[in-house]
Symmetry: C2
Subunit: 523 residues, 2 copies
C-alpha cells in the first residue's frame, strides 16, 4: 500500500528543504529537519510510582462509582453494555454507564502503542506514539489577530494562510485541523473547504472534521479520493480530535463521530478540556485523575468499534484566575499536571496528546512567550507524542496570531535541538579541542570547532543576537515586529506543493456536489 503512494510523483522540495537550506540564511538548521522528532532525551518523571498508582485508583473509582453520562447515541451505549458496562437510563436519550475497575483498561489492550499517520507526501508521514514527537498548529480559535489589523473573526483566507505558513516551516510536522474557524463559510459546509485547503496547501498529515457525524464521514471520504479507498481501509490517513463534555459527559455528536473514524480505521484523539475549578477539581492530582478517566473511556469506544483502531489519549489541563474565574493558560500547575499525565500514558502504553504553547496574552509580547514556553516545555518533557497547539495560540485559545505563529514555530525549531539531547562520545567530549591550543587560547580555529560549527547550536530565524549597537542602528526592532515582517515574506514566497491535477479536480467536484445538496446553515 505504501508503494502506491510512493509511486506518485514526489512533491518537489521547494524553498525550505531545498534552495534555502543551502543559502545559510538565519533559522536554517538542515541537520535538525525531520518528518517527525525521535526523542533523544528521556521524559521528565515527576511523580513516584505510588503517587501514580493512587491517581490511577482514583480514575478507576470515578469510572466505577460516578460513571460517565452518555447522551443521544444508543448505539454507543449498547456497545459499552455488551462490553460489561453497567448502564442506568436517566432520560429517553441519556444514560449513565459505570465501569468496574480494570474494565476500561482491558478494552484498551487492543489500542496500538504507536502508529503511522500517512501524509500525501510519503516522506512527510508521521508516527504517533513511543519516542516520536509531532508538532501541529493550534486548533479551534474563532478569531485571528495580527499587528496590522488587530483581532477579527477568522476567514477561509486566514485558514489557508496558516496552512501555508505551517507548510513553509520545517519545525511543524503536521498541518493540524481547524487552525482557525473560517467564519465566512456556512457552518455545515466549512469542513469541506477546510479539508480541501489542507490537501491543497500542505503535503503533510492533517485532522478532519468532528462537528457532526456526516462531516466526519465527508472528511474521510475526501481522503479516499486522495489516497485511494483501499489504502485508507488499511492505513491511518486522517484523525479526528474529540473533546469530552467535562465533567464526565460524552455527547452523541462526539461519540457518533468517534465511531465513524474508528469504523474507517482512522485515528482519533480524545481530549478532556479541563478548566480546573470550573469543570474539574482545582487540585492537580484530582484534575489529572479526572482527565485520565474521561480520556480512557472515550478512547475505549474506538476499540469496541474496531479493535486496533489508532487512538490517542489526550489531556488539556488549564487553570483559573481565582479572583475572576477567567481561564488561565501557561501557569505552573498545569505544567506539572502534564508531566504526570505523560507518566500515566506510558503506564497505559498509549500515545499521548498533551499541552502545547498556551497563553492568555492578547499580544505576541513577553507574557505570551513566558506562558507559552512554560507550557510547551511541559509538552516536550512529559513525552507527549502529538502536540496540538504548538503554534499561534493567544487570547486563551480564542485567537490565532500570525506573529505568535512565527515566534512559536521558531521555538519549535529550538525544541528540535532540545529533544535531540546531548551526544556523549569521544568526539563531543572534545578533549582534543582543549588540548590542541592549551590554557588561555581561544578555540575559534581548532579542528573540533571547524568540524562542528555548522551544527553545534540551533540557529534561530527570529531572535536578534546582534550587539546592541548593531541592533539599535537597524532600528531597534522587537521580536513581534520581526515576526510580522516574517509572516508576510513567508506568505509572499509560498509555493503550493505538487498535487495530482486529477485528484485535485475530483476533490473539487466532491466539495461542489456536497455543497449543492444543502442550504447554508449557520449553527
Amino acid at each position: 500500500m505504501v508503494d502506491e503512494v510512493e509511486a506518485r510523483p514526489a512533491s518537489r522540495r521547494r524553498g525550505r528543504g531545498g534552495e534555502r537550506a543551502r543559502s545559510g540564511a538565519p533559522g536554517q538548521n538542515p541537520h535538525l529537519e525531520v518528518p517527525f522528532i525521535t526523542r533523544g532525551i528521556p521524559p521528565y518523571d515527576l511523580a513516584d510510582p505510588e503517587g501514580l498508582a493512587r491517581i490511577e485508583a482514583t480514575a478507576d473509582r470515578i469510572m466505577a462509582e460516578i460513571g460517565i453520562e452518555f447522551r443521544e447515541d444508543p448505539e454507543t451505549v449498547a456497545l459499552f453494555r455488551k462490553a460489561g458496562g453497567t448502564v442506568t437510563g436517566l432520560t429517553a436519550q441519556s444514560w449513565n454507564i459505570r465501569f468496574e475497575p480494570g474494565l476500561i483498561r482491558e478494552m484498551l489492550r487492543t489500542a496500538p502503542a504507536r502508529f503511522t499517520q500517512h501524509a500525501r507526501n510519503a516522506a512527510r508521514s508521521v508516527e504517533i506514539g513511543g519516542d516520536a514527537v509531532v508538532f501541529a498548529p493550534s486548533y479551534g480559535s474563532p478569531f485571528v489577530m495580527d499587528l496590522d489589523r488587530g483581532r477579527r473573526y477568522g476567514t477561509i483566507e486566514d485558514f489557508a494562510n496558516f496552512i501555508k505558513l505551517g507548510q513553509s516551516s520545517p519545525w511543524l510536522h503536521h498541518s493540524g485541523g481547524t487552525i482557525c474557524e473560517p467564519t465566512d463559510i456556512a457552518v455545515n459546509k466549512r469542513h469541506l473547504d477546510m479539508v480541501l485547503s489542507h490537501i491543497r496547501y500542505s503535503d503533510r498529515a492533517f485532522l478532519g472534521s468532528i462537528t457532526a457525524p456526516e462531516r466526519a464521514a465527508d472528511s474521510i471520504e475526501m481522503c479516499r479520493i486522495l489516497f485511494g479507498a483501499e489504502f485508507v481501509e488499511k492505513n491511518c490517513v486522517i484523525m479526528g480530535n474529540f473533546n469530552t463534555t467535562s465533567p464526565l459527559v460524552m455527547d452523541g455528536v462526539s461519540t457518533r463521530g468517534i465511531r465513524i473514524y474508528a469504523e474507517a480505521g482512522q485515528g482519533s484523539v480524545h481530549v478532556p478540556f479541563l478548566l480546573g475549578g470550573a469543570v474539574s477539581p482545582l487540585t492537580m492530582a484530582g484534575s489529572v485523575a479526572h482527565s485520565l478517566a474521561e480520556s480512557m473511556v472515550s478512547c475505549a469506544l474506538t476499540q469496541l468499534v474496531r479493535p486496533g483502531a489508532p487512538v490517542v489519549l489526550g489531556s488539556f489541563l488549564s487553570s483559573m484566575a481565582l479572583r475572576s474565574g477567567s481561564p488561565t493558560f501557561g501557569t505552573p500547575e498545569p505544567a506539572l499536571g502534564s508531566l504526570v499525565m505523560g507518566q500515566l500514558a506510558r503506564r497505559l502504553n498509549m500515545p499521548l496528546r498533551c499541552a502545547g504553547n498556551f497563553s492568555t496574552s492578547k499580544l505576541p509580547d513577553a507574557q505570551s512567550m513566558q506562558q507559552g514556553v512554560m507550557s510547551m516545555m511541559s509538552a516536550v518533557q512529559c513525552g507527549a507524542n502529538f502536540v496540538l497547539h504548538s503554534a499561534g495560540f493567544l487570547d486563551g485559545l480564542l485567537s490565532m496570531s500570525y506573529e505568535k505563529f512565527m515566534l512559536d514555530t521558531d521555538l519549535c525549531g529550538a525544541l528540535h535541538g532540545y529533544l535531540a539531547g546531548i551526544a556523549i562520545d569521544e568526539d563531543t567530549l572534545a578533549f582534543d579541542a582543549l588540548a590542541e591550543k592549551g590554557p588561555g587560547e581561544h578555540l575559534f580555529s581548532t579542528a573540533h570547532t571547524m568540524r562542528h560549527y555548522k551544527t553545534a547550536y540551533y540557529d534561530s530565524a527570529l531572535d536578534d543576537n546582534q550587539p546592541w549597537e548593531t541592533w539599535d542602528e537597524q532600528g531597534g526592532i522587537d521580536a513581534a515586529t520581526r515576526a510580522n515582517t516574517r509572516w508576510k515574506a513567508t506568505l509572499a514566497a509560498y509555493e503550493a506543493p505538487w498535487l495530482d491535477p486529477g485528484i485535485d479536480a475530483a476533490l473539487q467536484d466532491f466539495v461542489e456536489r456536497k455543497k449543492a445538496t444543502m442550504a447554508d446553515a449557520w449553527y
Copy 2:
C-alpha cells in the same frame, strides 16, 4: 551565635509580607512565600550514569594531562604543590599545575554539601545545597535600560533601585551582588558603596566584591561590623562569585580573592563562563566536562585554605551565533548542558550555581521571555541551588532591564508554584469534588473548590488574564508596559528595612575612612 542576630529588633514586615498579603491584590500568593525554596519535585536526570562517568573521566583527563595555568599568585601554587599537584613553571609569574585523576575530588571531600548563608534579618537566611533553591538578581551588567530612557551606563542610584525592587519582591531570596556596575563611582571605591547599599536597602543575604583582594577583605570587614566578628568567624554571612579565566586559566586576582573568602570562613561560588566555540568546545558534552574541571579546581583551593569552607560549584554555559561569532543565551543546547551539570554536582555532593534567566534580546519582548524561560527552567530542573541571574538579564548580560526585572520576578513566583510540585493525597485527588454534583455539573461551588481556591494556582502579578474585550477597553496594554508601571509603583512604595542606627553609622564611618585613604582610580 544565631541568638545574637535574633536578639536584634526584627525587621518590621511592611507592604509585601504584611498588609498587601491580606488585600487580595494580584500577585500575592502568601502560601508560597518562603525565605528559600525547598524542592518538592525531583531534578530532571538527562544523561545516563555511563555518560556521566565519561564526562567525569574527561574532566579528570583535562586536569591531569592539560592542567590549569595559574598566574601571579605563588601562594596558591604552593598550596596546590603541597597537596600533590604537579607544578611546571612557565614564566616568573605563571605556572601550569596538573592533577592526577581523583586528586581534586579528594581535596573536595571536606566541602560541605549544604550550608547556611546568614542574612541580617535571621528570618531571611538562606540555605545553599541539597534540595534548597535560592533565586538572586542578575549580576555584572555595565548598562541599565528601561522603556523611558533606553540604554545607559548604570549608576549607584540604579544599583540601589534594583536592590529595592528585589527587596520588594517575595520571589527573590537573596540580594545578589554587582546587580549593575555603579559606573559613577571610582572603580577602587565602588565596592564600598555596593556593600553598604545591600546592607541598607535589603535585609537579605548578599555577595561581596571580588575585583581585588583588598576589596574582598573590605566586604568581609563590613560584615564583621554588621554581624559581629565572632559571628562572622563561625558563620557564612557573605559570598564572593569568582570566574575562572577560561579556558583553563586562573588569574591571581581571583585566586587571592578566593583565599580571602575561604580564610574568613566565608562562601565562594566558582563559575567558568563558557562561551562554546570561543573559550570552550562547542559540543555540550565537552563544554560540561571543561566546566566541571575548571570549577572543581577553583573550588578545591578553598578547601586547601580552610577545610570545610562553604563553597559552590558553578556553571555558566552559553552558545554562539555561528554565522557571526556573537554570544547567544537562552538557546536549547546550554539548557541541556545545565541539566547534565546538575547531575554531576549531585554526584560530587556539592551545592551548584547554574543557569538563570538568560537572553540576548535588547527589549523586554517575546524573545526575552522565550529565551529566559527556556534557560530558567533548566536552572530549576537541573537542581541548581543558587540561581544568580534570576531577574533583569537582557542584552547578553550587558544590560540590567527594569522591566525585565519585574517580569522575571513574577516568573520566579510562578516557579515557586512549580517547585512545590503536586501533592497526591485523598484531599487533592478530589474524588468527592466530582462525586458531589456528578456528571455535567460545574464545580465552582463544591466544598473542595471553596477549600482550595485561594491556594490552588499561582496568581501572577503581571500577566493579563482578562477577556480580550476588558483588556481592550483598558487600553490594550502589553506586558512590558505593565512592568514599566509596576517598577515605578514599587519604588515609590518602597520602605527600607530597619537597620540598627549604630551599625549604620559604623558602616558609614568605615566607608568614609576607607575612601579617604585612596585617590579615585577608574580601572
